[in-house]
Subunit: 335 residues, 2 copies
DNA sequence: AGCGCTCCCGTGAGCGCTCACGGGACTGCT
DNA sequence: AGCAGTCCCGTGAGCGCTCACGGGAGCGCT
């Protein structure tokens, strides 16, 4: 929390009283002029407006907010704005918030735990509600957001907070079914390099594979980058040369795999099919376009805002089974 | 400006006085406890903290901001958060702001003029400074941001405001030089479909082409999308089948052209070289990776924040010739 | 003249918080 | 006993603004 380095002349803040004095009227009249209210003479209004302009007056948002409590500011916390998935979510949330006249301040934690905590600390005194993707333990969250509406994104566990869960089981099932229908029998997964526990997406894959009588054991971990996806594909093909299709943890990894396949001279989709997860818009930028289990990120953002609104107004909040975004297989060129 | 639909019970906001009463102390003691100040007994402090928690108290940011004027909020206005260029700029600005302890509220105007005006209206009463990419006339800007620090991005004209200009002349020159060195003699440009006047980037191209004795007339307009880039490439090749290299208005268009080239079976870079503009990170996602005249978006964001800080503090502001981000040719696979 | 009405405009209060100050209680010292 | 010093704590004021109210001036009407 750094003070705004107010070095220099510090011209003393101009208040509504200064304008009033300058225009020869009262505070209230100034207020009326600025807020476009009735009960004011046109000439007076103009005079006040002129005085305000001349003085460079701008109303204090704090004073205004204090008295008419009508400005909602919600904090959006994401791990990495440069990750297209979160960008899409952010854009959706922004849009949904705008339609309600709400402000959104965005915090990028850079996927670092310390930043996450620091952000929480700041946020707790700066916004009216929080939407975010947190990895810190719930107790920490609880500590800082006490009494504030919070909507989590992508948390798996049921929590004290509202959480929008992402359910890709059906979509992944459909993806595997599609691959099987195309004759693939050796299907690998490029999972996300996680600390210890395998990802939920991996579980979906396993379930789907088993359901189709496919060996679910062909799994390689990958960094959540294109390079990571490429490296993982190489590792996969080295370990299991007979793999003809891969499902990936997300689209970034899939794009890396696609690129790597081209470098290896393997034709996609004929010699190697690739299916990603997320359904990012940029999947359409590559050739062939990426087939993916797509999430409705717009819906996700809108859902989050909707739930915040309900929590805030005391209206009946959405139940956990309504706070779900389902993945849906979107076929394209890569599989 | 919609009121936060405060239907329902409306449990009356809990203030510092409620906590004070509940803990049997004065306002000031509560304040001391919450702000971790001295001159308070440990037991009292704990008692106050407990009371605050029990009541679900959370301090009003407005009241707090009103008395200690130490929170800076800057508004970041961009046309489209889904456009990777602006995402990168936003991420950079966010980071630079964070290091100063400033808040950033993001506004996405969706590239619509009405939204731009609406945003300006809102912003003027909600933030302390503005960084943004505006297309509206300067007079409108002036009207809403009077007396507020403003830093524009990518505006060409000298203005009353601080503006960070993007100078790609050298970079484009280098790009054309590179193509010429590789033996290309027929170089086209996929320009941006603009209302009437050709883009500045087009001027740079023309200048560079002429300097190398190349015909600068091979220009086709394109939508600022990948599809637009693809269509433009088709049009270009139809009109000028002998073109062997294209320079594009930006990377999105370039990526579309790359994709189209692959669809047309033209090998990149051997049968068709492509050079983009912006240097987006996602240029590395495709194969071959995109060669581009890269802009330092991080630097751009940092520069904008720095200038805001100077304008705010009365320190000597950066001059126009310091507010420049230069494009630099970044060679990669596509040319 | 007296009344009611409209049209303007100003005054007190208060939003919820922090800052500067004052002061009581208790200690240890001369 | 008297005094300075420390440790807590509370009181008034004020941040800049809006809301609810009150009230004067001017009009037309009876």
């Amino acid at each position: 929390m750094v003070l705004p380095s107010t070095a220099g002349a510090e011209p003393r803040k101009i208040t509504i009283n200064d304008v009033a004095k300058s225009a020869g009227v009262s505070r209230q009249t100034v207020s009326r002029a600025l807020n476009d209210k009735d009960e004011i003479d046109v000439d007076t209004k103009q005079r006040v407006l002129d005085a305000a302009r001349a003085l460079g007056y701008r109303p204090s948002r704090f004073a205004r907010g204090l008295v008419r409590q009508d400005t909602m500011t919600i904090g959006l916390v994401i791990p990495d704005l440069l990750n297209p998935f979160f960008t899409e979510v952010a854009a959706a949330a922004l849009e949904a918030a705008r339609s309600r006249g709400w402000q959104v301040v965005v915090y990028d934690t850079g996927d670092r735990a310390e930043e996450e905590l620091g952000t929480l600390q700041v946020i707790s005194s700066q916004v009216d509600a929080v939407i975010g993707y947190f990895s810190c333990p719930e107790s920490e969250l609880e500590k800082f957001t006490r009494g504030m509406p919070v909507v989590l994104i992508g948390r798996e566990q049921r929590t004290r907070f509202s959480a929008i869960t992402i359910d890709g089981s059906e979509g992944v099932h459909a993806a595997v079914a599609h691959l099987v229908a195309r004759g693939h029998t050796r299907i690998g997964m490029l999972d996300h390099h996680t600390r210890a526990e395998p990802s939920v997406r991996h579980e979906w894959f396993t379930t789907a594979a088993v359901a189709h009588g496919i060996d679910p054991g062909l799994v390689v971990g990958a960094d959540q980058t294109a390079d990571g996806g490429g490296a993982a594909l190489r590792a996969m093909l080295a370990a299991h040369p007979d793999v003809t299709a891969v499902f990936t943890f997300n689209d970034i990894i899939a794009l890396g795999a696609l690129r790597e396949a081209r470098r290896l001279g393997r034709n996609v989709p004929h010699e190697l099919a690739v299916i990603g997860f997320d359904g990012l818009q940029l999947g359409a930028l590559v050739e062939p376009p990426l087939t993916s289990v797509a999430l409705d990120t717009r819906g996700l953002g809108a859902l989050a805002i909707e739930q915040i609104a309900r929590l805030l107004s005391g209206t009946e909040a959405l139940a956990a089974d309504e706070l779900v975004v389902r993945g849906e297989l979107r076929l394209s060129g890569s599989a």
